[in-house]
């Protein structure tokens, strides 16, 4: 087992007081950064790169600091999703669906503790996956060409109906809105600006964080303003029963965590799919498998465990193509990659053999960071839930402030703040119309990639559409997509209790 021997060497590199201290700082900062709406793992890492340079850290400690921030932010993203219904970062989007209802039922403590453990499970096993499977998985990633990616994104959209069960038509409208927003910016395949109205700030498209913060955080503030004149909603009325997850809940969600870890890890390994797709597919798949009573979306613990295990597993999986191919599987790994290049480490097929101490030190650091995050997060649940006891009239201005600071920090552009406010107003209107917001974000997040891959495939094939189903992998994914799309329509008719009277628009 020379893999284990290498890992032991890695621990020898990572286990110094300085590195442990850096990991602790990184985990702590990462958790905070992840929890703040508008600051996600990729900005967290980007913000700290200059710090790593200024401290003059050598390669391994610098990477340990930054990956701790990365994992920390993946953990932290769930906190505001669960407590405030505002995703702290884009992969934590799906956690709002069941996390916030749990908070409303007074189970915020359980939800936070459970999601912390689910994050740990996802990240822990994904790191093992990275240890043992990286070389083999790279070969799988190579099999995915544009056509296969297009099929994969279609699969994600085909199962979209699963997340917003109340009114499929509104979910479709929401997704279409998201796809439209994704079109904004210079078209990558032709260089033609689309929907930019000559405004240079729109040339790079609309950053999904701006959309998320606007749609969720700002619209929340607007909703509060609307209610503020009337009876003030008592935030502190939310009961806090316990701050740990009961064992029975862990048992109930174990299957969900296990399955989601696998799905998330695979999504992470595929460059261009990433953590958001990981948590998204984990959630919809778990809903298909275990939602027999229609409790998903109403505070089902499995609906919290699945996306959290999924997105943290994807974070680990995304390191596979980054280290072994030099291809970032997500925005954050793209920033980490830039950091590696700046440290004169060239990721690629030979990285594992040429720079073993960097790679294995990094992997050991991931294990250390993970355990630290679990230890850090479970006791901190008690502190986090206090947020709920802050009266809304103080909490909402704070949310607005963090949203503005976070988005301004992203690009230093006041234009983005205006766009965010626009999204806030739009989100408010959509909420009033009972249109779900999650599909809008998914449209923005995945729409671009889906379009790009389809056009790449068609360029390669000279416009021949058959390339889209030209390989066994693509065909398999298409079959899954069609089953995923048709099955709920057929099965749902018999299984799902007819509890919603659809309001026709």
């Amino acid at each position: 087992m020379d893999v284990l021997a290498s890992l032991a060497d890695g621990f020898a590199v990572a286990l110094t007081w300085q590195n442990l201290g850096l990991a602790l700082i990184g985990c702590f900062l990462g958790t905070i950064i992840g929890a703040l709406p508008g600051l996600g793992p990729s900005n967290g890492v980007a913000i700290l790169i200059p710090l790593a340079f200024t401290l003059g850290l050598p390669a391994t400690p610098a990477l340990i600091l930054l990956t701790s921030v990365y994992y920390g932010a993946m953990y932290g993203g769930r906190i505001s999703s669960i407590l405030l219904n505002i995703p702290g970062d884009e992969p934590a989007l799906m956690t709002t669906l069941d996390g916030y209802p749990m908070t409303q039922q007074g189970k915020a403590g359980e939800a936070l503790a459970l999601s912390g453990i689910a994050s740990f499970v996802g990240a822990f096993f994904a790191t093992w996956g990275l240890v043992f499977l990286a070389p083999q998985l790279v070969k799988v990633a190579l099999l995915f060409g544009p056509a296969e990616y297009f099929a994969l994104f279609t699969l994600a959209f085909a199962t979209l109906g699963g997340i917003a069960a109340r009114n499929q038509a509104k979910a479709v409208i929401a997704a279409a809105l998201g796809l439209g927003i994704a079109m904004v910016g210079v078209d990558h395949q032709t260089g033609v600006p689309r929907l930019t109205f000559g405004e240079i700030h729109l040339y790079e498209g609309i950053h999904f964080l701006i959309a998320i913060v606007g749609l969720f955080a700002i619209s929340e503030v607007l909703l509060f303003l609307e209610h503020a004149k009337g009876e003030a909603p008592e935030a502190s009325a939310t009961k806090l029963n316990r701050i740990t997850a009961p064992l029975s809940m862990l048992k109930k969600t174990a299957g969900a965590m296990g399955r989601s870890t696998i799905v998330g890890f695979i999504a992470g390994v595929l460059p261009g799919a990433g953590a958001s797709l990981g948590s998204f597919v984990s959630y919809t798949m778990e809903k298909r498998i275990s939602d027999k009573d229609g409790t998903f979306g109403k505070g089902d613990p499995r609906g919290v465990a699945a996306p959290e295990a999924g997105n943290n597993a994807a974070a680990g999986g995304a390191l596979v193509p980054m280290l072994a191919l030099g291809v970032p599987g997500s925005g954050t790994t793209a920033v980490l990659l830039a950091m590696l290049m700046a440290l004169n480490i060239t990721p690629g097929p030979l990285l594992f053999t040429q720079q073993p101490d960097v790679v294995w030190g990094l992997i050991a650091a991931l294990f250390i960071g993970n355990i630290m995050l679990l230890l850090l997060n479970v006791p901190m649940v008690g502190i986090f839930v206090r947020v709920l006891q802050v009266p809304t009239k103080y909490l909402m201005p704070a949310v607005a402030m963090i949203a503005f600071v976070g988005i301004y920090g992203l690009s230093g552009s006041t234009f983005d703040l205006l766009v965010m406010i626009g999204f806030g107003v739009g989100g408010y209107v959509l909420r009033k119309l009972d249109v779900p917001l999650v599909p809008v974000i998914l449209g923005i997040l995945l729409g671009n990639e889906m379009e790009k891959n389809m056009r790449r495939a068609l360029t390669i094939s000279d416009g021949e559409y058959s390339i889209l189903w030209g390989s066994p992998i693509a065909i398999t994914i298409w079959v899954l997509a069609i089953v995923g799309f048709v099955a709920p329509v057929l099965i749902g008719r018999f299984l799902r209790p007819k509890k919603d009277v659809t309001v026709s628009p």
């Binding site: 552009s413 360029t459 390669i460």
Partner: protein, 327 residues
């Protein structure tokens, strides 16, 4: 220890050499604008050069780096032209991407004469490569194949259509005698790494990118470099790669890194900055940074750089018109 002493001596020497020249301009609070977020190439240029400028005592205090992202550098360009046109203490990081966008009108209402071009600090040269299993072994062979059947070869690159990776193939194809640039099939991916992966997976037949992106895959033997688009063979470990020129295809594609300054900058300040960047480029400390970061030599300063930019913009404009990106 010896290296440190050498660096120290070099610094001292550079400082003496520098103070030896008299400038009527004295910079105060200097600033370098990186038109992208932290972690990107422009950010790197600002931070590394800023640090070197201060270490070499060319500027009195640390250079403040400001990140002004957006519009592929267009936001920073517009800001400098509109609001900071007469600032004498300001330089802005730029690269071939800046000139490409200027040439293609991607910065609305902007042109290269609105700013003053200072100089380069190095370049990353273009490569055209195929996977190790490909039957093609030279650049002319590849273009013969394209000529015989343009549909048989898809080029993958990391920039958008009309971007630098695309233009490099077109420059080479023109020199190889392919008259209609539109017959070249180019597929745009997110970054060179993704493009190489697609090549290794057999989804495309050729790769166009910068040499720094290919290093890991060349070392592992997965990638076969057909040509580097440099004037002569590159130094060090890259010396084995043939240039396009020596294969009879006179194509050069350098992705330079450098700086521009506000258009209203005084002549004294401009001379100061041209000299400052030149001194930095020639220092031993900078050579070290170039070596560790895969930057290759490319030296153009002041008027010479200005002419270089004008030519690059004109060439890019002509090519872009031909492939229909510019009407």
């Amino acid at each position: 220890m010896r290296k440190l002493a050498a660096a120290g001596a070099a610094t001292l020497f550079a400082a003496i050499a520098f103070t030896g020249q008299a400038f009527s301009f004295e910079p105060k609070q200097t600033e370098c604008v990186a038109p992208a977020n932290a972690g990107g190439g422009w950010d790197f240029t600002c931070r590394q050069v800023g640090k070197a400028l201060y270490d070499l005592k060319i500027v009195p205090g640390p250079v403040q780096v400001t990140n002004l992202a957006g519009g592929g550098g267009g936001v920073a360009f517009a800001e400098v032209v509109a609001k900071r046109n007469t600032n004498n203490d300001l330089i802005v990081a730029a690269s071939s991407a800046t000139t490409t966008r200027l040439a293609q009108g991607a910065f609305p209402g902007a042109n290269q004469d609105q700013v003053r071009w200072i100089g380069t600090v190095g370049a990353d040269y273009g490569v055209i490569a195929v996977s190790k299993d490909s039957p093609i072994n030279t650049l002319p062979e590849l273009f013969e194949k394209v000529k015989a059947d343009p549909k048989s070869v898809s080029f993958a690159g990391g920039s958008a259509v009309g971007g630098w990776d695309h233009l490099k193939v077109l420059i080479a194809a023109k020199e190889a005698g392919i008259d209609d640039a539109r017959t070249i099939k180019y597929v745009a991916f997110e970054g060179g790494g993704e493009a190489v992966t697609q090549l290794l997976g057999g989804h495309v037949q050729a790769f166009t990118g910068d040499i720094s992106e290919t290093k890991g895959f060349v070392d592992s033997g997965d990638l076969k470099v057909l040509a580097v688009l440099s004037e002569e063979r590159l130094p060090g470990e890259f010396a084995d790669f043939p240039t396009a020129r020596e294969q009879g295809i006179d194509a050069v594609g350098a992705n330079w890194r450098g700086f521009y300054a506000p258009g209203g900058m005084s002549d004294e300040a401009y001379d100061f900055w041209v000299n400052a960047v030149k001194t930095t480029y020639e220092s031993d400390e900078w050579k070290q940074i170039m070596a560790t970061n895969g930057l290759m030599p490319l030296a153009r300063f002041g008027d010479e750089f200005d002419a270089f930019i004008a030519k690059q913009v004109a060439d890019t404009e002509a090519l872009s018109r031909e492939i229909g990106i510019l009407q």
